[in-house]
């Protein structure tokens, strides 16, 4: 599964990024530094046992 994510990122970051038309514009488009900052944020707090975390979510019922 990781392979499919180790892909097009290089291509995408080289293309000129268009500004998104206004809907509360985000500040992050095209900024690799900000994306790295987000990754840092996430890595510092995610529970270490990923499989156990995922497996803990079993939900009964629903449509």
């Amino acid at each position: 599964m990781p392979q499919e994510f180790a892909q097009a990122r290089n291509q995408e970051s080289q293309q000129p990024q268009e500004q998104p038309t206004v809907m509360g514009e985000s500040r992050m488009n095209g900024s690799v530094d900000a994306l790295d900052a987000v990754l840092d944020d996430i890595e510092s707090v995610l529970e270490t046992n990923a499989q156990e975390y995922v497996n803990s979510f079993v939900q009964k019922g629903g449509e």
């Binding site: 994510f5 892909q7 990024q17 268009e18 509360g24 985000s26 992050m28 990923a50 939900q59």
Partner: protein, 507 residues
């Protein structure tokens, strides 16, 4: 194709059963496009890090303890007119109060997240005293757990009754299936990343059975409104979104497509969506779900030459084949043309959302997809935001454990203790048309212009007075000291009548 059944208590006329593409025109009626919007979300609950055994069902009950203490029921209506419900042994649910505008419904949906968050964190605090400080409550606004169970985020739209069910199936359903290219929340699976959460779990296309079968769209004839004018369209094929843009667009674009259909029936002319009819909606749904480029999976339409002709014209001469992208261009172009004539009337029926803005945003997303600029839409499309994060994480750690990716996928949807979506918003990475102040307001105040205003006010005053009361979507009841009841059949009516005043006086 599953046979359409109408659960209504009136016979489905031969005319509407037979006609689909060219229904007889409906006389009278000015061009108004009033709509009632609603979103019902089933949340998932889990708990981690407890010292002692603690199961999710017990945690959900603990979340609702303050609610039950106040109302003696796990089914309650709030001051903002919305419904908060704990399906015992199952999901906490939040159903937004009736709204006239997708932006109001979005604010109410976010209010629901805030309510769930607060209940979860308060329960967490209480449970930590007995189960240790490591105990963490997770409340997931998503559609799949780790064990193959699926649950929903359902939209409700009041639709004019004269829109035939066959039109819903042939012309709305392809739209609902293909809109997922910008509404899908994305999902990490062992078979690869998918753009939606729900596609693998859905069965029949359209059904009026309510529980066991899991159709994509449902219609109900319930006394929520004048039954001769409206029916309730219940859209089941929809992901739970964190992206505000996605939630807003989900409803706004669906609304515009419905406006086109209603107007066409009213005037006895074609909608323009006729060639979009799918030969196999389920197959199309699965194909769209796996088509990460949105323009590579070929869909099976009933009239391929007709569709191709329409789609190429809609995309300004470009040929995107018979794919989700091509289909969305067609829907968008038809709506654009419709708005040239009816745009003002549509806007007058809304409360803040402008149809032309919706279409600009819609076309913007489609153009970005056409150009392969997925990262540019990562601030507004959940599956694109997720995929970009997962790719970046994999680039950072090429040998990353697949479970870590699944963890991020799940954490993205945790409204109580999630860090992924929260990190994105903290860094300004997500488009957020509704700010925190408006969400806070929406927790306590009903949306503008619907009977939710009356329900919300009734609930607020009833709670303050300490009287025994109950309510549901159509009924406000005082039980004690005096018994008095008011029925609210028209969801568009927010009038404070003498009867309503008398009801409040009985509290």
């Amino acid at each position: 194709m599953p046979q359409l059944r109408d659960s209504g208590n009136h016979p489905v006329s031969d005319a509407s059963r037979r006609s689909d593409e060219q229904p007889a025109s409906v006389p009278g009626g000015a061009d108004r496009f009033d709509r009632i919007f609603g979103i019902e979300t089933e949340y998932g609950v889990s708990v981690t890090g407890a010292d002692a055994a603690c199961d999710a069902g017990a945690v959900a009950m603990e979340m609702f303890r303050p609610v039950v203490a106040n109302t003696r029921s796990t089914n309650t209506y709030l001051e903002n007119g919305s419904r908060l419900y704990l399906d015992v042994g199952s999901h906490p649910e939040y159903a937004t109060a009736e709204a006239r505008d997708p932006m109001d419904a979005l604010a109410q949906d976010l209010a629901g997240e805030a309510v769930m968050r607060r209940l979860a964190l308060e329960a967490q605090e209480r449970l930590r005293s007995s189960h240790g400080d490591g105990l963490t409550v997770h409340v997931y606004k998503n559609n799949a757990d780790s064990a193959g169970h699926s649950f929903g985020c359902h939209e409700n739209y009041l639709v004019l009754r004269y829109v035939p069910l066959t039109m819903i199936e042939r012309q709305l359903l392809p739209f609902l299936i293909t809109r997922q290219i910008f509404t899908g929340a994305g999902r990490v699976t062992s078979g690869g990343f998918q753009i939606t959460q729900r596609a693998d779990f859905l069965d029949e296309a359209v059904s009026s059975a309510t529980t066991r079968a899991r159709p994509m769209v449902n219609t109900r004839d319930e006394p929520h409104a004048d039954p001769d004018s409206y029916r309730r369209l219940h859209v089941i094929i929809g992901d739970s979104n964190r992206s505000q843009f996605a939630t807003w667009m989900k409803m706004a674009t669906t609304h515009l497509v419905l406006c086109v259909m209603e107007s066409a029936v009213r005037h006895g002319c074609p909608t323009g969506f006729e060639t979009c009819a799918l030969a196999d909606p389920n197959a199309a749904n699965r194909a769209v779900n796996r088509d990460l480029g949105c323009r590579d999976a070929r869909l099976d339409v009933v009239d391929e030459p007709g569709f191709r002709r329409d789609a190429v014209r809609a995309a300004g001469g470009e040929d995107f084949g018979v794919t989700a992208l091509a289909m969305q261009y067609r829907y968008c172009a038809v709506v654009e043309r419709f708005l040239e004539r009816y745009g003002d009337a549509v806007d007058q029926s809304l409360n803040g959302t402008h149809a032309r803005t919706v279409v600009e945003q819609w076309r913007g997303v489609l153009d970005a997809i056409a150009g392969g600029r997925f990262d540019a839409m990562a601030d507004r499309v959940d599956w694109m935001a997720k995929r970009r994060l997962l790719e970046a994480m994999t680039a950072r750690h090429p040998d990353i454990d697949p479970a870590r990716l699944a963890q991020i996928d799940l954490d993205y949807h945790d409204v109580a203790n999630g860090r992924t979506y929260e990190a994105l918003t903290a860094r300004g990475a997500m488009s957020m048309p509704v700010d925190a102040a408006r969400v806070r307001t929406a927790v306590h105040e009903p949306p503008h212009g619907t009977r939710a205003l009356l329900r919300g006010r009734f609930v607020r005053e009833a709670k303050t007075s300490g009287a025994q009361y109950s309510c549901d979507w159509t009924r406000l009841t005082v039980h004690a000291p005096v018994r008095r009841e008011l029925v609210l059949l028209d969801p568009f009516d927010d009038t404070v009548t003498e009867d309503f005043r008398s009801l409040l006086a009985a509290l």
